[in-house]
Amino acid sequence: MLVRFWGTRGSLPAPMTARAATDKIRGALRKSAGHDLSSDEKVEAFIDSELEFAESGTYGGNTSCVEIDGGADEYVVCDLGSGSRDFGNAIMSKFTPGKSTVVNVFQSHPHWDHICGFPFFVPAYIPGNKIRIHGCHDTLEEAYRIQNSAPGFPVDFDMLASDIEFVKLETETEYEIAGIKVTAMKQHHSGDSYGYRFEKDGKSVVYSTDSEHKFESIDESYGFVEFFRNADLLIFDAMYSLADAISLKEDWGHSSNIIGVELAHRAHVKQLALYHHDPNSDDATISRILAETIRFEELSEEGDSLNVCAAFDGQEIRL
């Protein structure tokens, strides 16, 4: 399986400002002093070896959208936040006239930041395409219809030319969709949210965003340990610091990097991707949180070694 991150930001799109871009250029130019940059190859080598990710790139500002590419003809994607505009454009770049496209969406929940890309999801406008929106909420269709209606948006849902179907899923049930085994799990979030575990060819990825973890101990009785168990990749809501998540922002429905590491250790997860980044965090802040999380993983000295990354728009992870 190949996991593609089209949107990794939480709550609200957070595009980089012109000032932030200029700051990156300034920093890179300063670091370039004394380096031979006389060819594209040397420039690339300088960028790779001398600049941190936050200096040469960006985590991006699109909201939740993660593609699970299992190699089948049908697409599989989690959530249609603002990142789904780019995802839809990528689908259209491979568009073949006369051949329909099938997109299987797995909806964590219908909050705005997880559906806001749909009005700009071009495949939904193409006759012959099929969009199946899977989820455990009864309100998914209502949420999508409200979003695509006046006065909020000029194109009414019923004007979309593709065949759009809403498929109700149940927890504790294994489905096989587009050649991938999928199970859902209820999560603690306002109005509920659902995590999804995808398995194919002995590899597994868990998409678990917008999920607050309230427990007194992490042991085998905590259901998420089993849901995450031995996952090759855990995409985890690490929006807040632990202190915020259990004080000022308690019951806001999100979790922290600390809880992510502890749960991943307990469940023997191989790789943890920090996800649903706070829109108030700039690139340097997310990189700092990543470095601190790696350090905490080292300090915790528990379980197997865990690889930790901070997901970014455009990232691909092959399992």
């Binding site: 007194e216 202190a243 915020d244 259990i246 600390i258 502890e262 350090r295 905490f296 300090l299 915790s300």
Partner: protein, 121 residues
Amino acid sequence: MDIDEVKYDSAIILHPNGRLDQDTAATFQDRLLQAIGSGGKGVIVDFSKVPYVSSVGLRAIMIAAKQGKADGISLAVADLTPTVSEIFEISRFNFVVDIHEKLRDAVEAVSDDALKAYEAA
């Protein structure tokens, strides 16, 4: 987990000994809430013999801090080991809990009478 408790006038100091994790957090939280409920002006946790604190340990501190705030009793931590100090920073608990480098400083922050009793001991 062994937790010694010493009272200095209006300040209570708890001295936990060992890792503060899911095996010990419940005991620690009970003792902490008990100390807060026993009156006085402030409770201080001496972290000099705590080599590690996990999220459930930090949660116990947060619960106690909230209870203390409701009861008008301060909660502070002091003399953190290097690892625990790092974890407080990574978790941002350094922004929500009073941290003192030395126990004496924490006692002084509770009251002058507590400091006199601490220094006389």
